[in-house]
Symmetry: C2
Subunit: 139 residues, 2 copies
DNA sequence: TCTGAAGTTTCCTATTATTGGAAAGTGAAA
DNA sequence: TTTCACTTTCCAATAATAGGAAACTTCAGA
């Protein structure tokens, strides 16, 4: 199987397959005599594993852990669960941050006329004198 | 005001202040005879504006728009509102994506014993044969 | 006035995951 | 044999930020 076919079969671009190999997430692929990478079923499985993990937002480093656990038949499911839970917390943190931003912005938008007049609380907020920072300066 | 003081007063690191200047988000700072950047109140205002916008998740490009609107006394508040609304949609998209990931992962975690045994539905899901991709290949 | 510390300058590097391109080589079919 | 699609490696770019090096400036203390 060439890299192009492996890409189609796994949903990971050829570029990224080479990249994952270069950083050691995937082991060096076998090669044909001419130097073409040759992928076997086992490799495709690993690539799909990676694709799925990526779609769940795992970083390359986390995927590296997951792959190691996956390939260790004697892993404890608690180890896997720990990685997953840590990732959930990470996701929660990001979600919270985005929701906070969204809320603030929503609030500002609600108070903006949104007409031809120039006065706008959104810009007003952005330009507000930040008293807190001044306070910090005097600490 | 030196760059270090400007950094403290605005909450933006000296590195980033130079960066924002280099990409044109901030106009070139005035210079002392020795070549040190000299910041005035007006600059600090702009930097704080940027800091606030950053904290709301606006990208450099969006901030560039907002700054232009801010400095245009005749802007229509509807223009500002449009930028903000577009950003809210962007945030919503990101939030949704993260929540979807979180949900899937939460579901998997719930079904994982999390003990010393090796069987784990999390890895099971990651390693699952992806039938959809095969189907796509035959299109 | 000299000296040293702290601040500043520019330039280069790295990060993360991904995409793009160029130049050269390979595969396969007509 | 030509041609087209594919592959190879290498280099560059993205967005926002951080780190460091070498050279220069400022300023306070001796």
């Amino acid at each position: 199987m060439n890299i192009g076919q492996a890409a189609k079969a796994s949903g990971i671009s050829a570029k990224m397959i080479r990249y994952y190999e270069s950083i050691g997430l995937m082991p060096p692929a076998h090669r044909t005599e001419a130097g073409y990478r040759a992928f076997h079923e086992k490799d495709i499985h690993a690539l799909r594993f990676i694709a799925r993990a990526r779609s769940l937002g795992f970083s390359v480093e986390q995927m590296s852990n997951l792959l190691a656990l996956w390939q260790d038949r004697h892993r404890a499911s608690s180890d896997v669960k720990a990685v997953a839970l840590a990732h959930i917390e990470e996701l929660d943190g990001k979600i919270k941050k985005l929701q906070d931003m969204r809320e603030t912005l929503e609030h500002l938008v609600k108070h903006c006329h949104g007409d031809a007049r120039p006065d706008c609380p959104i810009l007003g907020d952005l330009a507000a004198e930040s008293v807190e920072l001044d306070a910090e300066l005097t600490l």
